[in-house]
Amino acid sequence: MTEARYLYCIVEGSEEITLGNIGIEGSSVYTISYQDLSAVVHNCLPKPYQSEDQEKVKLWLTTHAKVVEVAWEKFGTVLPLGFDTIIKGEEGFASDENIKKWLKGDEENLRQKLAKLKDRAEFGVQVFWDPKIISEGLIEATPEIKKLSEDIKSKSKGLAYMYKQKLENLLKKALEKEADKYFKDFYEQIRRCVDQIKVEKTKKLEEEKQMLLNLSCLLFKEKSKILGEELEKIEHLKGFSVRFTGPWPPYSFV
């Protein structure tokens, strides 16, 4: 039966060593090297890890993360792979040979990538706002909206309903404009403190808050303090909050 190799990450280094039984489902993790590039792998069957059991998948994923983390600590720079990347053997080529062949063929590219990531880490930055609080501020700050909201109070029930709709529409437009503005401001502010930046899709949340901005940032590990300070400024704005996660291996920058 053919065997395959589950790939965690690519690291710099030429020693072929084992990292112990820290892999998915307790498999033994080791490196396969071509010159001074090494792939961190474990032996597996030539089929993807799949399960309906979410707890199991979660465990797989966290184990994957942990192995990459261990390699990151040990080797300094890593090119992490996503979950379930499995290299198979081919006719006349064992999977190990296949990995070496690939490392050889892609050497230049991989080396460049590693150089770009040296001493750097990925951080997640998500900025949220509470539209309710922002709206209150907007009503106060925009005379047109302020007047409308005052007017409602003196209207009959039916008219008040109509005015309310009007107010909501105006507010919605104003909020969108505001969101645009803040997005640009924050993006600029954050971009200045980082090496590379990627805009991710924002996600919907169950809370009152809305996600305004979702970024992946690559920066020198020790520079996270500067970014933290900048984010603190945003956090202090009324109605805003920031989630700052990391340091992660540079999943988004490979």
Binding site: K47, G82, F83, T85, K204, L205, G228, L231
Partner: protein
């Protein structure tokens, strides 16, 4: 502000990255992972919480529909009884329906009354099968391999006075059997003691070679018959059999084996959702078996309701876990895994090895 790593929210952030990102490798040396996005979606739903999904309408339509269906179906359809008939027991379970080329486990409810034993399908207001109590000749419960690894299911065999055998599977099969026996006793009918279960086959399996035994079988399985000549590849109905030697697919219409493959040639097993009909855009679960052909590799594709069970059974072979020797029971001659025979006794006739008997006696003694 310090970055954080260990809260629930940051975990989601990290898992997102592992699922969606990372270095991309040219596709020809990696194993394709069609099922992975699905894992991602599921997991993310679990992480984000069901509430959010509902709130933003992801599953609302589905939720509403299934609730409406429940409401619709919960109220009506009651089994109609004859006069003087009383229900003694109602239990969820399946009846093995087999007629011609169609056979399947049909889910529904068992009703035991003072007159009949009935399998009834509420949703269709249909009595799938019934028998007057006096027609029941014997009952046997047998443990059969469940499709789930290592699990057993209790199957109730009912033999009628015409020596026809019927198969059932219930939530509590033994309880069902006891209830029928009790009911019969109170109504004055008696059952045959120590019945012998006639050899019972559900499909034409005269293709077995010497020493070959079926180890896994199931309901209808469709096979993608490869193109030949001017004929395009087509899905055909039939049955799949896994034996200790081969994987065989029996074509129901041609009534012959169309595909057989020695098990040691199976390289890999994969499942995925695919369109199986040009008329219907619905996707179905398809099992792809990668195998070693003479000098090249071949793929065989199967579809059907029990694809997951098949994938599991085949995966066990691929991963080399099926190494259990089979033996035959010294009393009734039924094949069973040797380990099971020795450690648990025979599931069909109740034979127990002398050593196990001693062990049980010892345990009983020490319990006293």
């Amino acid at each position: 502000m310090e970055p954080s790593r260990d809260t629930h929210a940051t975990l989601v952030d990290l898992l997102d990255r592992i699922l969606d990102k990372g270095l991309i490798i040219n596709a020809d040396i990696i194993i394709s992972v069609a099922g992975i996005p699905l894992i991602g979606v599921n997991l993310r739903a679990a992480l984000a919480g069901m509430e959010t999904m509902l709130k933003y309408g992801v599953m609302q339509a589905w939720d509403e529909k299934s609730r409406a269906w429940e409401r619709e179906h919960r109220k009506k359809n009651v089994l109609s009884l004859v006069e003087g008939e009383e229900i003694a027991l109602k239990m969820y379970g399946s009846y093995y329906y087999s007629k011609g080329i169609y056979n399947a486990w049909r889910p529904g409810y068992f009703y035991l009354t003072n007159k009949r034993f009935i399998h009834y399908r509420q949703d269709f207001d249909e009595i799938t099968w019934q028998i007057p109590l006096e027609e029941i000749k014997a009952l046997v419960v047998r443990g059969e391999a469940h499709f789930v690894k290592g699990k057993k299911k209790q199957v109730l065999y009912l033999i009628d006075k015409q020596d026809q055998v019927h198969r059932f599977n219930a939530v509590e099969t033994n309880q069902l059997k006891d209830a029928i026996e009790q009911n019969l006793a109170t109504t004055g009918f008696s059952l045959e003691v120590n019945p012998v279960l006639p050899e019972f086959e559900e499909g034409p399996i005269d293709f077995l070679t010497e020493g070959e035994e079926v180890t896994h079988r199931g309901g209808k399985v469709w096979y993608l018959v490869p193109a030949s000549g001017i004929k395009q590849e087509t899905w055909r109905p039939g049955h799949l059999y896994l034996t200790n030697k081969r994987l065989c697919w029996w074509n129901d219409f041609e009534r012959k084996l169309v595909f057989d493959l020695p098990v040691d040639r199976i390289i890999g097993v994969n499942t995925g959702m695919r369109k199986t009909s040009s008329l219907d855009s619905k996707k179905e679960k398809v099992l792809d078996i990668l195998y070693q052909a003479n000098l090249t590799k071949g793929t065989a594709s199967f579809a059907g309701k029990e694809i997951d069970e098949w994938a599991e059974a085949l995966n066990r072979i691929v991963s080399g876990k099926i190494s259990e020797e089979t033996e035959t029971c010294p009393q009734c001659g039924k094949p069973a895994p040797a380990k099971e025979l020795l450690e648990e006794g025979c599931q069909s006739c109740g034979w127990v090895s002398p050593r196990l008997k001693k062990k049980i006696a010892k345990a009983a003694l020490s319990a006293e």
